[in-house]
């Protein structure tokens, strides 16, 4: 565990990618296979199963520290992170445990099913064997909340250094449905015919946004333009009569969309298709928030299937009849994909149309109307591009429409977490209704510079009207421009509207609250 904590401290301390990769690679060179496996699992979001509820942790920690529960809660609001709060309120004991990361996780597993008293004793005793940093990491692991500044890309780099395997190879090995409780490190990285292979998706190729003028991309005839759909980017995998659908976030979503099984039944060849899963009805793409109602749902009801039927708009063909196609140029993959979609001939699988234009000016015109077909803008892909691994610059670009925006008044503020802990950085915004009242319609936190954030934080502390736990109501005075990608009616919100991806575009220090927009204006943006 000590090595792992040391690795965490090193990575946490730096923002430089190279230093992080070096620290990781050095750790991999020293660690046992078991520790390596768990490190990879944790850093790729495959946390060991949580064995305690947060309320239990809070109570036990308050008790161990000898402070009242309400005081623990106050600390938690201010620190903004449960694991850190617990690690901070207990004394900084000297490091007394020689167990490794994998051994701790094994112990954790043993304590999953035991009586609460035994579980409590195990955790409270563990806390006393740790330094503050060790306790922080331990808490992150036991509460299943380990997230840290290690992207998959970074870990792939470090593993490539350590194993001498090619980065793309490793990125692929780490994808999909592997389970750190059952697999070994050797199997994960080196065994290519394991049980999980059938379901394994390819790493997605992700595009950067167009910077500067689109003309700078050169001759338009080298580029293929497509609509950028606002749904769930996914990989549809058909191998040996089995179907798997993976979201970009590496969630297996096959069971949530039973209607898409029809595609697998009709496909004449095994194939892996990169596409967008979207709601589609009466020959039109549905707004994303319809699809959203299906994501959170446990059961797929007949009603849902009828109201928001899902289809896949196919973008690309990654594998055909067992052959990896990713190194072939896009034009070739596209031609094969078109043929495959046509032959399959099911309404649930559609070829995402190519947008034809002879000049960039024409394309700019088409893009400006993208919202009419419920698209977010365009994708630009070089005709000769291979299908890359991860986010790479150069041959694919996303070219989204500018967000819609509205001026709104801040009325509530909440303390943030992580980097924004102990500062009021999460705001609720309101617009005016017909009766001259401010109605909250959106929450947002990102978009301000650190300096602005500090200034707004100081302002909030001086203009608090009321406090409710971590939330403060503030004098309605500050105006912000809020940007968002979409808007629709909603019965869940007081304002009657729901926004997609709201964020702060800028602080309008030039505007008074009276100059903020109205709910009526906001509703005119609903298509």
């Amino acid at each position: 565990m000590k090595n792992f904590v040391q690795l965490f401290v090193q990575i946490d301390r730096t923002t430089k990618t190279n230093e992080k990769v070096d620290a990781l690679a050095a750790y991999f060179n020293e660690a046992s296979d078991e520790d390596k496996l768990w490190t990879i699992a944790i850093f790729s979001g495959r946390n060991p199963k949580r064995i305690v509820k947060t309320t239990q942790l809070k109570q036990w920690a308050a008790e161990s520290a000898g402070i009242p529960y309400w005081l623990f809660e106050e600390c938690y609001h201010i620190v903004g992170d449960l694991s850190e709060t617990i690690s901070s309120i207990l004394p900084d004991y000297s490091s007394a445990s020689s167990l490794t990361l994998a051994q701790w996780i094994k112990q954790m597993q043993w304590h999953e099913q035991v009586a609460e008293e035994i579980k409590k004793k195990w955790i409270v005793d563990a806390w006393k064997q740790f330094t503050k940093e060790e306790r922080f990491v331990f808490n992150k692991i036991t509460s299943g909340a380990f997230r840290m500044g290690v992207s998959t890309k970074l870990m792939v780099k470090a593993l490539s250094k350590h194993t001498k395997l090619h980065e793309n190879k490793i990125a692929h090995r780490l994808m999909g449905n592997w389970n750190p409780y059952t697999i070994t490190y050797q199997e994960l990285l080196f065994n290519e015919d394991g049980a999980d292979e059938l379901s394994k998706p390819y790493p997605f190729y992700l595009a950067y946004a167009v910077e500067g003028e689109v003309h700078e991309l050169g001759d338009i005839s080298n580029w293929q333009a497509e609509y950028k759909w606002d749904g769930i980017r996914c990989q549809f995998i058909q191998r040996k009569q089995q179907t798997f659908i993976w979201s970009r976030g590496e969630d297996l979503i096959t069971e949530k969309f039973p209607e898409l099984m029809a595609i697998g039944n009709q496909l004449k060849y095994d194939a892996v298709i990169d596409g967008e899963l979207i709601g589609y009805k009466e020959n039109a793409v549905l707004n994303f928030n319809h699809l959203q109602t299906r994501i959170g749902r446990k059961n797929v009801t007949a009603k849902v299937l009828q109201e928001v039927p899902a289809v896949i708009f196919a973008y690309d063909l990654l594998e055909l009849d067992g052959v990896d196609m990713r190194q072939k140029p896009l034009v070739e993959r596209r031609a094969l994909l078109a043929k495959l979609v046509e032959e399959t001939n099911v309404p649930q699988l559609k070829l995402s149309p190519v947008v034809e234009a002879d000049t960039w000016e024409q394309l700019i015109q088409i893009r400006s109307l993208a919202r009419e077909v419920n698209s977010e803008g365009l994708m630009l892909k070089q005709q000769q591009s291979i299908y890359e691994v991860g986010r790479k610059k150069g041959s694919w670009y996303k070219w989204k429409l500018d967000p819609m925006s509205i001026d709104a008044v801040m009325i509530y503020a909440m303390r943030g977490s992580g980097r924004r802990a102990n500062m009021y950085t999460d705001y609720t915004f309101a617009v005016w209704n017909d009766n001259g009242e401010l109605v909250p319609f959106a929450k947002a936190y990102s978009g301000l510079t650190d300096k602005e954030m500090a200034a707004v934080d100081a302002w909030i502390k001086q203009h608090t009207i009321d406090k409710f736990g971590p939330v403060r109501s503030v004098t309605p005075e500050l105006v912000f421009e809020i940007g968002f990608e979409g808007i629709n009616y909603s019965t869940r919100h007081k304002s009657g509207v729901a926004l997609r991806f709201p964020r702060i575009l800028r602080w309008r220090q030039d505007k008074k609250k009276e100059e903020a927009d109205t709910l009526a204006t906001l509703k005119t943006l609903i298509k």
């Binding site: 005081l71 309120i89 977490s417």
Partner: protein, 344 residues
């Protein structure tokens, strides 16, 4: 607060009506008693100042040439029948808790304090009283300082590693108090300790007050660039990101502050490293100080006032929060202002 109180909280600051004096007032008044020389406690524009003798050289440099009356620790003075005595607060050089006694009623206004001995400022001394006015900058159980020797070991290790890599170490710290505390406990064998002009200014004040500091040099143009490679530079927070820093390249930066105890603050801060070192009391320090006074009534000022007052109330104290204009140690927003302390 009722009118018959020995110390009252007014819009000019803490007021002792019976003696017609203020303690750390924030608006101009005739007579001011100053707990210590930080800008939020020692402000410009008072007609008469009374402060501990070791505060005077600092006040002269910060507030300009005027008359300052001085007083030693433990020597009571009478003002219209009210007895005032200064006791060490352990915060920075010359920092004092002011004991105010009148007709058997004893109050202590503690200003800013820390209960651990930093080896430079005379150590905090608990003073028995009925009413104790305490700060609460770090009044949450998540703030627990490690011993100074551990932190200095971390700082020295950081410096040693930078020096070995040929990188200049730039340490940001308050120029009054924190800077001297750090430089006094650095391992000067590692390299040269250099200071920013505003730190130099305070060092001179410390020397004048009779504190012998380890040798440092003020940064100026005359230095050979090679000396920076193994040097540690102590600069105020306001120097962060300024042109003045350019000459030290390649360099790496650190901040020494109590706020560095929380990861959020550390991550927000643009410095490369954070060391948890504060001149304020931590949670245990506050609680032990409150207990040691034997006071029944506790007035909680600047910091986590509401939370700390509530906690003390549950312990059975008559505790109240009081609004003041003291700011304590600043996490971020106003840190740029540090250079301008004390000016109107």
């Amino acid at each position: 607060m009722q009118n018959n109180q020995l110390i009252q909280f007014t819009d000019h600051g803490m007021y002792v009506p019976q003696a017609d004096v203020y303690i750390d007032p924030w608006k101009p008044v005739t007579r001011a008693l100053i707990t210590h020389a930080h800008g939020d406690h020692a402000r410009w524009g008072m007609k008469h100042y009374l402060a501990h003798e070791q505060s005077i050289p600092i006040l002269k440099r910060r507030l300009g040439p005027q008359q300052f009356e001085s007083i030693a620790y433990g020597k009571p003075i009478q003002i219209n029948g009210v007895e005032f005595t200064f006791f060490p607060a352990g915060h920075v050089l010359g920092s004092a808790q002011i004991r105010v006694a009148y007709q058997g009623d004893v109050w202590v206004a503690s200003g800013d304090y820390k209960t651990i001995d930093d080896g430079i400022s005379p150590a905090f001394e608990p003073v028995k009283c009925h009413t104790f006015i305490t700060e609460s900058t770090f009044g949450l159980p998540v703030y627990n300082w490690k011993p100074q020797v551990d932190i200095m070991e971390q700082i020295n290790a950081w410096w040693r590693a930078n020096a070995a890599a040929g990188k200049c170490s730039v340490m940001f710290a308050y120029s009054l108090g924190k800077a001297q505390r750090i430089l006094q406990h650095l391992d000067h064998h590692i390299g040269q300790v250099l200071v920013h002009g505003s730190v130099q200014n305070m060092n001179e004040a410390y020397e004048e007050a009779g504190v012998h500091l380890k040798p440092t040099k003020k940064v100026d143009q005359s230095f050979d660039k090679n000396i920076f490679k193994t040097a540690l530079v102590i600069a105020p927070l306001s120097a962060e990101g300024s042109l003045w820093m350019k000459k030290f390249e390649p360099y790496t930066t650190a901040v020494a502050s109590g706020w560095m105890g929380l990861r959020g603050a550390k991550r927000r801060d643009s410095a490369d490293m954070g060391f948890v070192l504060s001149d304020h009391a931590d949670w245990q320090g506050l609680n032990s100080a409150v207990k040691a006074t034997g006071a029944q009534r506790i007035l909680v000022t600047h910091g986590y006032t509401a939370i700390y007052a509530k906690y003390l109330t549950e312990l059975g104290y008559d505790a109240q929060e009081v609004a003041t204009r003291f700011v304590g140690e600043q996490p971020e927003a106003e840190k740029q202002e540090e250079g301008k302390e004390g000016q109107p």
